[in-house]
């Protein structure tokens, strides 16, 4: 079998220093009541928080200084995201730009795009969304039909994207669109563009999720004009760029810490003298978390060394999101509680309510469990 390597994640001193800086920052935020951890997670959008995180130097830390970054190792960023997640910090405004849009622009974007966007992302002022899925193209991403056609002034885009998180409140999307024929492997003819949401030709329709929140949108392009230098990478290179970033997306701690605050609240609610069932199940969940933490940290080190542990990354997301799904199911069995969307007297009931209603999305977003298992099977040599 392909032997999975989860070597000791030796963090450099600057990563350990960053851990203490973030903790101090987050403690001050909590003390100032800037967010309530029990109701918060990385998928809460809070511009004020993102601006303060940017000002404190926690966004775009791996990017070169000339673009507003700090030229730090990716392990420094790993530690920052870990700590943000552990604290339940409301990171969603800057999350996508910091995690994937910014790195893509840095690596494949035009000089103008880099100068225009990266410093603002670092300051926590400029937010991004992901324009991949379409009404007829979900797990089968190669079926993208939104099309860009070359004109003198740039490219004209027509079509629509769906499940676009935060499209109504971000400044830009990076959209994957068709610019040519798919070819025999179906992966050709796709190109990425930076979409400025303030320009004419792009409209947003809200899609409310089952928890009542507005995060998703449908985005419609009608003769939207995008300049040549807002293309990310070369024409037709979209597929390899999108799939090349997946190990970063899938192995991160956001794939098993989405509902970490429920774990904290569960332990607090159970208290220092658990009964046997509570002790066993909490111990079991902690064991799962500890293993995931190690897997994720080891992969961060491999990524920092320039390796692409794609199978391991898919494993983290598959095992990690399964853990995220199980946590609320177990929590409700261990504590006699009726989950609520707004219980002024019971923090635990509220946390459980919030997590329970978001749990179905954990094993969908960023690649469904079924897609991941196919990737793992390929890594195992079965495909």
């Amino acid at each position: 079998m392909h032997a999975f390597q989860f070597d000791a994640p030796r963090l450099p001193p600057e990563a350990l220093a960053a851990r203490h800086r973030v903790r101090a920052f987050l403690a001050a935020e909590r003390d100032a009541k800037a967010f309530s951890p029990h109701r918060s997670s990385w998928s809460v959008f809070d511009e004020g928080f993102s601006r303060r995180a940017g000002a404190a130097g926690f966004i775009g830390v791996t990017w070169p200084k000339e673009f507003g970054g700090q030229a730090q190792s990716s392990l420094v960023r790993f530690v920052i995201t870990q700590e943000m997640l552990g604290a339940g910090a409301p990171c969603f405004a800057h999350w996508i730009a910091d995690r994937q849009s910014g790195p893509q622009i840095l690596r494949h974007g035009s000089e103008r795009a880099k100068r225009l966007l990266l410093p603002r992302i670092c300051r926590g002022e400029c937010y991004f969304g992901i324009g991949m899925s379409e009404p007829d193209s979900g797990s089968d991403l190669a079926a993208v039909r939104t099309r860009a056609v070359k004109q003198d002034a740039g490219w004209i885009i027509n079509g629509s994207k769906i499940w676009t998180s935060n499209a109504h409140r971000v400044h830009y999307l990076i959209a994957l669109v068709r610019t040519g024929d798919a070819g025999a492997d179906r992966h050709g003819g796709l190109t990425q563009f930076i979409i400025d949401m303030s320009q004419p030709g792009v409209s947003v329709r809200p899609i409310h999720n089952l928890a009542g929140g507005h995060e998703f949108n449908e985005v419609v392009f009608q003769d939207y004009l995008v300049a040549d230098d807002m293309m990310v990478g070369a024409e037709g290179q979209g597929w390899s760029m999108v799939t090349g970033e997946l190990a970063f997306e899938r192995s991160g701690p956001d794939r098993f810490l989405s509902d970490y605050r429920l774990m904290v609240e569960l332990i607090n609610r159970v208290g220092p003298t658990p009964n046997q069932q509570q002790a066993v199940e909490i111990g079991r969940l902690v064991g799962h978390l500890a293993a995931l933490q190690r897997m994720s940290a080891s992969i961060a080190v491999l990524l920092d060394q320039g390796k692409s542990p794609n199978t391991e990354a898919a494993l983290v997301k598959d095992v990690g999101t399964a853990f995220e799904r199980e946590l609320p199911e177990m929590a409700r069995k261990l504590v006699p509680v009726e989950a609520s969307l707004n219980d002024p007297e019971d923090v635990f009931a509220e946390t459980l309510g919030h997590v329970s209603l978001h749990a179905p999305s954990f094993t969908l977003r960023g690649g469904t469990r079924e897609i991941l298992r196919g990737i793992i099977a390929r890594g195992l040599g079965l495909r």
Partner: protein
């Protein structure tokens, strides 16, 4: 394979060489015929001779005490490889017992060794006489008790202090044959006023304050990770070789997803065992070992189930070697505390510390 023979190598290189040579040795020595023989209760002396000649039982024993002195994390990898090859001799027990005895006495001890007692609650008492000590008590399910040269006993005196006693097996009363599901010996030892000379008793190292439970859990966790890897190797090979409906069964999505699920369980188990190996000899060892035994133990059920399902009826026979690995998994997961035992221990530790204290336990202070 002594460390002295290879002065030009760094510690990491030495470890890599030892592991590679051990892997090759296990592969060559552990044949299907020898496994079947050991399964019938015959002591596989040929395998042990080879393991001993290679110096492996002293891999974890410090160099200054005459051992190989591998870093503990690497020595525990060696135990993992032994698990992969379902090595039918007590190498893991011997390695740990030899290292603990050397730590307590400054002496290396050769030959096969085992540890007693193994349970969380069993106690062997020790009493000092003039020029000797007396041991009393019963230890159940002692690994390889009837087949080792010496037993390392962790005993308690009237004040509750822990002592180690090195007891030759030869002088003890015959025990009734009892085996685990893999036919590995697990017998009851009754010490009914056994006299031990002074030189064979030492104050136990601080790490043995809780008995041998943690050490036993640590070695079983590594062995299980190795045996799970073997099961998956068998299953992946079989899935691509066995054809039904005109194609290898591994091409069917249902089979792929089952194996992907098992691989995830295995990966999480391997990661937690890795942490425990690195924590050997540090303050984190107790927590990391509890997590490893719990997480690995939980994974074994799923991995064994899936690998048997993939093998169909063939895996349910003695003709296919899968059972050598799965019967060990089903035994080892219950030895030195099953997963529920360790989960409860972790749960109590975490709950008494409170919710906010969990984070630094997971990522560091």
């Amino acid at each position: 394979m002594s460390a002295n023979a290879m002065p030009a190598h760094t510690e990491a290189e030495l470890s890599a060489i030892v592991l590679e040579q051990a892997d090759r040795l296990f592969r060559g020595e552990v044949t299907k015929e020898r496994m079947a023989e050991a399964d019938r209760g015959t002591w596989p002396s040929g395998i042990w001779m080879a393991v001993q000649q290679a110096g492996l039982p002293l891999a974890l024993t410090a160099e200054q005490h005459g051992g190989v002195g591998l870093p503990p994390a690497d020595a525990l990898h060696l135990i993992r490889r032994a698990g992969y090859h379902t090595l039918p001799v007590p190498l893991a027990e011997s390695m740990i017992a030899a290292a603990l005895w050397a730590e307590a006495s400054g002496e290396a001890v050769a030959g096969t060794l085992s540890l007693a007692p193994v349970g969380a609650t069993e106690v062997i008492s020790i009493e000092r006489g003039s020029g000797s000590y007396t041991l009393r008590g019963t230890a159940h399910r002692v690994p390889w008790a009837t087949q080792v040269d010496n037993l390392l006993i962790c005993a308690r005196d009237a004040e509750g202090s822990a002592w180690l006693a090195l007891l030759p097996r030869a002088g003890l009363p015959e025990a009734k044959r009892r085996t685990n599901l893999a036919n590995e010996p697990r017998e009851t030892i009754t010490l009914d006023g056994v006299i031990v000379r002074e030189a064979a008793v030492r104050a136990a190292p601080a790490s043995c304050a809780g008995g041998f439970l943690l050490f036993g859990a640590a070695i079983r966790a590594q062995q299980m990770v190795g045996a799970m890897e073997r099961c998956l190797d068998y299953a992946l090979a079989y899935a691509m070789e066995r054809e039904q409906f005109g194609r290898p069964i591994g091409r069917f999505q249902a089979v792929q997803h089952m194996l992907a699920d098992a691989a995830g369980q295995y990966a999480a188990a391997a990661a937690s065992a890795e942490v425990a190996g690195e924590a050997y000899g540090t303050d984190d060892f107790a927590f990391a070992t509890a997590v490893a035994k719990a997480r690995v133990g939980e994974a074994t059920g799923k991995v064994a189930e899936v690998c048997h399902q993939v093998h169909g009826a063939m895996g349910f026979t003695q003709e296919h070697p899968l059972h050598f690995a799965t019967r060990r998994l089903w035994s080892w997961r219950d030895e030195f505390g099953h997963e529920t035992f360790w989960q409860e221990r972790i749960g109590r530790m975490v709950c008494s510390a409170g919710g906010e204290a969990l984070w630094p336990m997971l990522v560091g202070k």
